[in-house]
Symmetry: C3
Subunit: 149 residues, 3 copies
């Protein structure tokens, strides 16, 4: 088992960016194209991309971008992993708030994706999604950081 080196080089630049995403309640919003366009626009061809979600009731996923049924089943899975009713103590912000925190904990708020030859190294079936876990529409802030050359 041996790792093959793809590239080696200097490191010179960084850029940060922000995306404000409007959600329509529980669901996955794909942001892959917007991210690919921004990465390309920075002119950084080789480096590391970080995606960070500034919320505790919305999260980031890399998941299948082909069959929409996958996203539907993922939402059902969230419902089973963090049920809406489970005797929560924290209920002041509504019955959807605590399960939203747990779903965010399970799926996470940061992603790291290497960039090679000007493109994210996502696999063929991988898309980047913002997952909204609250019932009502929200505006969600996502921060991007790209470092490389």
């Amino acid at each position: 088992m041996r790792i093959e080196t793809l590239s080696e080089g200097g490191i010179e630049r960084q850029a940060s960016g922000r995306l404000n995403v409007g959600t329509r309640g529980p669901g996955l919003t794909e942001i892959t194209d917007a991210v690919a366009e921004w990465v390309s626009g920075t002119g950084i061809r080789s480096g590391l991309l970080t995606v960070f979600c500034r919320h505790t009731s919305a999260s980031l996923l890399i998941q299948e971008n082909a069959d929409p049924d996958v996203r539907r089943d993922l939402l059902t899975a969230f419902d089973r992993l963090a049920p809406r009713s489970a005797g929560y103590v924290h209920t002041t912000e509504g019955p959807d708030d605590m399960p939203a925190h747990i779903r965010t904990m399970i799926s996470g708020v940061s992603l790291s994706i290497p960039v090679v030859e000007g493109r994210m190294t996502l696999g063929t079936w991988q898309g980047i999604y913002l997952a909204e876990h609250r019932d009502r529409p929200h505006r969600r802030d996502v921060i991007f950081h790209l470092i490389g050359s």
Copy 2:
């Protein structure tokens, strides 16, 4: 959907750090202030912060820093997701060890947080927590890495 560039610039410096946290059994210990102070002290104003937990039975979370009931419900959620008794094969280190490994797997041991204008880009309600999953008090090692300029 278009990402707005916040900053662009050179990249010059890095720093690494270590925090040893004493825990008192299952629970969340907030480390946000210590991290903010260290980031500020490095003088790096723009870049990427990485937080890494060197254990397999303690993990890192970004979660709500307002109502303590949220943390209580998160611990209950861990109990439900990785029950204390589930016919585990690995029992030599006690009944709390295997659920601790599973809880660590679910929540993760690394976080990536962009730094802009001298501050972590955490949202208003986001705090950084070390989650202890073993019954007894432990000393836990957390490593920090900051790269930027």
Copy 3:
């Protein structure tokens, strides 16, 4: 609570690499040694390592490298967290596909590990594992990125 600075310095170089791992159905394949060897070979002594899995039905874990029973119990935990039969809508790729996506969502596809004094800062009991979640053997692509000096 105060973070102790371990190192400070310049930032000059980056490298990326690729590992193609053959899996034999559900299970964990340890890749720690291959990663340590590659990190060492780059000559980068201080920096940040990123590991990225280019799939939506295989994931990355940092878990205990001592007792193999831990890995066995982790697989059982995946079975309980994302059961094989749960009334999934997406079934066209077989009964193991949708649970594989959910298990990947729970455990994640990217890891960030600081490198200090030429070595990953993994704890004594931490190993890096590729987790295969499909029934049949697959070839899985893992990308590495190291930045530092």
